[in-house]
């Protein structure tokens, strides 16, 4: 039981996935999506095991007075703080949290939609799915204005956002544009769809207002998010740790590659065997394509393009075919239970 059941499970889930590949029906696709979701959910439970492993190893180092003990404390402190920020429960309705950039985009979108409705959609043939008539347009304009004002109010009253220098000015411009939109409704009194000249003139006016409104909205990019301790992934401290601790270290580790690639090239140069020389020559030909080399420039460009297109393609294809076979053989060994060291012994 201890040994046989897991092997049976491997076999059944493996064979199921292979068969699923050949069955295009909807339920088969759904089963596939569910199984993938399952593995992701199990992965999160596993992550808890991972965190446990990290804590255990760090604690062990601290307890045994390992030379890295004090750094292990740093790890545990970072872990605990970030978990504390990340698992803070949303203080209020999580669905209602918006970013400043999001609110800004909503305002601009509302203006753009108003402009499009008045200039384009009212002229589309009536059976077109996007077309609207004058009555609909009249009903929609105040809705766009309402929506804009809702977001402006959010900017003014919410403590999620922190203001910028010209904030009041730009918000006033946005509100003014929204009011103008609302006022335009009266202009459509007695205008019919056939009256294209009037519709065109009014459309031009509305699109002018909308452009001004959207521009003012885009100037609001000085407003930033601050919602201290809202919780979850939106927590201010969680984001601050991510943006000012994780991102800089990550980017710096990545950029170390610039130094390492140089030392690796030197290592290849020192090796002085035939194969590493071939490798280096190909590398220099491809690298040289960005250099200005007088009369040689054209030749080097052509040569490096050829190397990247032709031998490169051939070798990649040979590797792909081999890798494909390796994957198929390994999968088969796993499904058939030939390869099972990962399942433990007893």
């Amino acid at each position: 039981m201890k040994r046989q059941f897991p092997l049976l499970l491997v076999f059944l889930s493996g064979v199921f996935m292979v068969i699923q590949y050949f069955v295009p029906a909807g339920f088969s696709e759904k089963a596939y999506e569910f199984l993938i979701d399952w593995t992701i959910i199990i992965g999160i439970f596993a992550l808890a095991l991972g965190i446990w492993s990290l804590v255990r190893v760090s604690y062990h180092k601290i307890k045994t007075g390992h030379p890295d003990a004090k750094y292990s404390m740093v790890t545990l402190a970072g872990l605990a703080l970030m978990l504390f920020f990340g698992f803070q429960f949303p203080g209020y309705d999580y669905k209602e949290v918006y970013r400043a950039s999001q609110a800004r985009d909503y305002i601009a979108t509302n203006f753009n939609n108003a402009g499009a409705a008045a200039t384009e959609k009212v002229f589309l043939p009536e059976n077109d799915t996007l077309s609207i008539d004058v009555a609909t347009l009249r009903a929609e304009l105040p809705q766009f204005a309402d929506s804009v004002e809702h977001w402006v109010e959010l900017f003014q009253t919410s403590d999620w956002f922190e203001g910028a220098d010209n904030e009041a000015e730009d918000l006033a411009a946005v509100t003014a544009a929204a009011e103008e939109l609302r006022a335009m409704v009266a202009q459509y009194d007695g205008v019919s769809r056939a009256d294209t000249a009037t519709l065109t003139a009014l459309g031009a006016q509305i699109s002018g207002i909308s452009e001004r409104g959207a521009e003012a909205a885009n100037r609001l990019d000085g407003i930033t998010d601050v919602y201290p301790f809202t919780g979850g992934l939106e927590s201010y401290m969680f984001r601050a740790f991510f943006e000012h601790i994780m991102i800089p270290i990550q980017a710096t580790m990545f950029s170390l590659l610039a130094f390492y690639i140089a030392s690796a090239a030197y290592r290849a140069f020192r090796a002085r065997n035939l194969l590493s020389t071939v490798l280096l020559i190909a590398a220099f030909i491809v690298m040289a394509r960005v250099l200005e080399m007088g009369p040689l420039t054209d030749l080097v460009n052509k040569l490096s393009a050829w190397v990247l297109l032709v031998p490169n393609l051939a070798a990649k294809r040979a590797i792909w075919i081999g890798v494909g076979l390796g994957i198929v053989a390994t999968s088969l060994k796993v499904i058939l239970g030939i390869e099972r060291s990962y399942l433990g012994r007893d």
Binding site: P6, L7, V10, F11, G14, V15, V18, Q20, F34, D37, T39, I40, I41, I42, I44, F45, A48, L49, W52, D68, V74, T75, G78, L83, F85, G232, L233, F238, F241, H244, I245, M246, P248, T252, M253, S255, A258, F259, I261, A264, A282, A283, I285, V290, S304, V307, V310, P311, N312, L313, A314, A315, R317, I321, G322, G324, V328, T330, L332, L343
Partner: protein, 276 residues
């Protein structure tokens, strides 16, 4: 030993002082208005700069600054992924499919349109996940192999036909190329002869190189036949083609890596020190 410890303390103190000064300068930058914002932004940028330099100190060798940044990074990032996994997968993916009360508790929209049996089915991964946690109980830790067996079996079954298609059959298909593109007879071939990349001669040669490259590359990967005689020659050509490819790939990456370094230097000198 004691001396080096003292030296380390002095260096640490000096570094700390330097960064505090940098923080003060950054905070003073806009003292007239929103001071608190500048103090906070200054602190964040200073921390980021300190961590950046700490990581670069690895180029000199292992040292306390690198160790600090490394250990902090490990702790913070582990918690970051745990939180992300919890909110996006457990709350975002699983909770909406469970029960309205649970969805309400997490303040997330409940999926209405899922039939009951599909809701019940979502209990299975939770059970498997809990079985996995039983690893921590030595007596029943063997049960934790069940979810592992499920995941590995699914992976194997998923990859087997799909890689057979994309990495094997599809690649064979792509190798069926005409050796002689738009051939119009020897007369035309010689009268229009040129070495240009789009010319017929170059294209024929390229196709032959691709063909030979694929064949020799594959020969190199043969395991159960001795690489001697003709087979050895082909395998030798194969490894040469592989090395040319690796070189090309190496050369192609260099510029990208240098631009990453430029990015970090810009951060240090522009965002932090304001001198670029």
């Amino acid at each position: 030993m004691a001396n080096s410890k003292n030296l380390m303390r002095i260096i640490s103190a000096a570094v700390a002082l330097a960064f505090v000064i940098s923080w003060i300068f950054k905070s003073m930058n806009g003292m007239e208005d929103t001071t608190w914002l500048n103090v906070r932004q200054g602190a964040l940028v200073t921390i980021a700069a300190f961590l950046t330099l700490s990581i670069y100190s690895f180029l000199y060798g292992d040292n306390p600054f690198y160790r600090f940044a490394e250990h902090l990074f490990v702790g913070v990032s582990a918690a970051y992924w745990m939180s992300l996994g919890f909110w996006s997968t457990i709350v975002g993916n699983l909770v909406p499919r469970t029960h309205p009360a649970i969805a309400d508790f997490f303040q997330i929209a409940y999926s209405q349109d899922i039939p009951t049996y599909l809701r019940l089915i979502m209990i299975i991964p939770v059970v498997l996940g809990i079985l996995l946690l039983l690893r921590l109980v030595p007596k029943v830790s063997w049960i934790s192999r069940w979810p592992l067996a499920f995941i590995i079996g699914t992976t194997a079954g998923l990859n087997l036909p799909r890689y057979l298609q994309s990495d094997f059959i599809q690649q064979i298909n792509n190798t069926f190329i005409t050796m002689l593109p738009a051939w119009e007879g020897f007369g035309s071939f010689f009268s229009n002869f040129s070495f240009s990349a789009s010319g017929q001669f170059a294209m024929i040669m390229s196709n032959i190189v691709i063909f030979v490259g694929v064949v020799c590359g594959l020969v190199y990967f043969f395991f159960s036949k001795e690489h001697r005689g003709w087979f050895g020659v082909a395998s030798r050509i194969g490894i040469w083609v592989l090395m040319i490819t690796f070189g090309a790939s190496f050369g192609y990456t260099v510029m990208g890596r240098i631009s990453l370094l430029v990015g970090r230097i810009t951060f240090l000198f522009h965002d932090w020190l304001n001198i670029l």
